[in-house]
């Protein structure tokens, strides 16, 4: 069912923190390796034996119908599911640059600083635009005003928002339009300089113009960041991702280069979903 070639497990401590050789064809340097993961909310199992590699400095899209577990898997990558009672990985491991992120020695706060997240519903804080972007830095203990100023401008520029808000940095983030709010949330995530950015249906509440802006942004960001994006919108996956993983009923059906998935999928279910026959 899962078209991943089994590779010998490489977890010996001497190279634990080295990028592991890719277990998946088509992935030159894996940033995240998900291996045989089962995940349950209480007794309800939502992920079954998922194995997947996410390449560094590329965009990986998770697609699939609602309830297929793609968001759950995404939230595993920065341990956001820790917040949910009874939710846990029951089997398998997730490694980021070779480190098992669920190991007891891993500081979850540090993990989340390295693995940023943008949520489905844009959630700016009820603060000024400036304070929104500065939040992560201040939390991390940065107090020097000039450093924060610099980082705020840089992040807003990276999120293609600077020109629109540079004259009103100190007004509330709630005053922005939906698309601007989402780009503000992206800027906020970028400000703490993560290595990986997770995006959970970042455009689901946006109009086509705002969506186009965010997608353009995603294509630019992969120069510097490893991006994982969950999307309902297959055209979106096609437009901005390099690799696409198709999930169905908690199982990874197929993962491959986006071009191949959309032109010549290996599995019948993938083809049916992509051509719109179900989902």
């Amino acid at each position: 069912m899962v078209n991943i070639i089994e590779m010998p497990e490489i977890t010996s401590p001497t190279i634990a923190n080295q990028p592991a050789p890719s277990p998946e064809p088509g992935v030159e340097r894996a940033m995240i390796e998900i291996e045989d993961v089962d995940f349950s909310y209480g007794t309800h199992q939502v992920l079954h034996d998922v194995s997947l590699s996410v390449p560094a400095r590329a965009v990986t899209a998770f697609i699939g119908p609602s309830g297929c577990g793609k968001t759950t898997l995404l939230r595993c990558l920065n341990r956001m599911n820790d917040l949910i009672d009874g939710a846990q990985i029951t089997k398998g491991s997730i490694r980021i640059e070779g480190t098992d992120i669920n190991a007891s020695s891993v500081d979850v706060v540090d993990l989340r600083r390295r693995v940023g997240m943008v949520f489905q519903k844009s959630n700016p804080f009820p603060k000024s635009i400036y304070d929104n972007v500065a939040y992560g830095l201040r939390i991390a203990g940065v107090t020097k005003r000039s450093l924060i100023d610099e980082a705020v401008e840089k992040s807003l520029r990276s999120a293609a928002l600077w020109e629109e808000v540079k004259d009103r940095l100190h007004v509330s983030g709630y005053g922005l339009s939906g698309g601007q709010q989402q780009r503000l949330c992206i800027a906020r995530a970028l400000a703490v300089e993560p290595e990986i950015v997770l995006m959970d249906e970042p455009c689901s509440a946006l109009d086509p113009i705002a969506t186009a802006k965010v997608e353009e942004l995603i294509r630019q960001l992969k120069e510097q960041y490893t991006i994982v994006i969950v999307t309902h919108n297959m055209q979106q996956a096609g437009r901005c991702s390099d690799r696409t993983a198709f999930f169905y009923l908690g199982r990874l059906i197929e993962v491959d280069d986006t071009a191949k998935i959309f032109s010549n999928p290996g599995q019948r279910q993938t083809e049916e979903y992509i051509t719109g026959r179900f989902g």
């Binding site: 920065n78 956001m80 917040l83 009672d85 706060v109 540090d110 989340r112 600083r113 940023g116 997240m117 949520f119 519903k121 959630n123 700016p124 804080f125 009820p126 939040y135 992560g136 939390i139 991390a140 949330c185 906020r188 995530a189 703490v192």
Partner: protein
């Protein structure tokens, strides 16, 4: 079907009877409220307001209670307060009068206002500290288990305990066992405990009203749990917590039973700040408005001269409680419009 049968006439009668029962029940409330407010407003207004500028009876608000002396002199009935009577005596040293005295019915209620204010401030500070802390624990940290269910049952039970039982509890624990005697601090703890369930419930509600997205957004940026709560949850829950708690103030200010054994004196000559050492401040009893009204209404012989302070006290008391409630409503409306998601 168009002809009106006797059955449908009967059912119509029932309909209108029910309608009138329900309507009268509602009007009954209105009548009671009107009566209470008018009665206290008119009778108390006579004490609190005056016909000459500044139209408010300032001495009633700023003087301690005094004994009222009533006696006949040269064909007139004189009603003099304790101090006035002694002054009168100095000028009429040779006159022999036989005054009847009415306790607490002259002077004002200043020490009671001060005492109630002190009780409210202390007990609310205590209750907010403990209440907000435990609400944060319950809504942000705890996971549902048997222990937490037990805690919630305890909170519900605490809310249902009659206030006189709190009074007895405070008397037994703080006054006797801890040896604090009848004191401000014993009253603070007793009143604080009494209002705790309301504060915890209000705080939990306000905390839960803060969208989960703000917590997740903060945690995803590498904030620790406490940083998230302190910077991104509590500030937005605080207006709700405080406005809901103002209603707790009205309760704390209004209860008589919890303080009658623990903190209230019927009469005290010194003001609370007139203490020998600063530590004595906490271990002194105080006068309090509700208790004072209770004392002047039931502990002294009633006659035409006692009404003045009874209704005057009730009027001031009602006014203060209404002021607090009004503040709460205004603050709530304002914070609602400011923080909307």
């Amino acid at each position: 079907m168009i002809a009106v049968t006797s059955k449908s006439r009967r059912s119509r009668r029932i309909e209108s009877a029910i309608f009138w029962v329900l309507r009268l029940a509602t009007y009954f409330i209105l009548a009671c409220a009107t009566y209470i407010f008018l009665d206290i407003g008119i009778k108390g207004g006579r004490t609190v307001f005056t016909t000459t500028p500044p139209f408010i009876n300032v001495p009633f608000l700023t003087e301690p209670p005094q004994t009222l002396y009533v006696f006949d002199y040269e064909g007139k009935t004189l009603t003099l307060s304790d101090r006035q009577f002694r002054e009168w005596k100095t000028t009429h040293a040779d006159v022999e009068v036989n005054p009847s005295s009415v306790a607490y019915s002259a002077g004002g209620i200043w020490p009671c206002i001060v005492g109630t204010a002190l009780l409210v401030i202390g007990s609310m500070a205590l209750a907010l500290l403990i209440g907000i802390s435990s609400a944060i624990y319950l809504s942000e940290y705890s996971r549902n288990g048997r222990m937490i269910r037990l805690v919630r049952i305890a909170i519900l039970n605490l809310a249902g305990v009659p206030s006189i039982v709190f009074g007895l509890f405070g008397f037994g624990l703080f006054v006797i066992f801890f040896g604090w005697n009848v004191s401000l601090i014993a009253g603070w703890f007793t009143l604080g405990l009494m209002v705790l369930p309301a504060i915890i419930t209000a705080s939990e509600e306000s905390l839960r009203a803060v969208p989960q997205g703000l917590r997740e957004g903060s945690l995803a940026l590498g904030a620790s749990k406490w940083q998230t709560i302190r910077k991104n949850v509590l500030p937005y829950a605080m207006p709700g917590i405080l406005t809901s708690s103002i209603l707790g103030i009205a309760r704390v200010a209004g209860e008589t039973a919890p303080i009658m054994f623990t903190a209230a004196y019927a009469m005290k000559d010194e003001m609370p700040w007139q203490v020998a050492r600063w530590t004595d401040f906490f271990f002194q009893g105080v006068m309090a408005l509700p208790y004072h009204i209770y004392v002047v209404s039931s502990k002294i012989p009633q006659n035409e001269y006692t009404e003045r302070v009874q209704y005057g006290g009730a009027f001031v008391f009602l006014f203060l409680v209404m002021l607090i409630a009004l503040t709460s409503i205004v603050l709530r409306e304002r914070s609602r419009s400011r923080l909307s998601w």
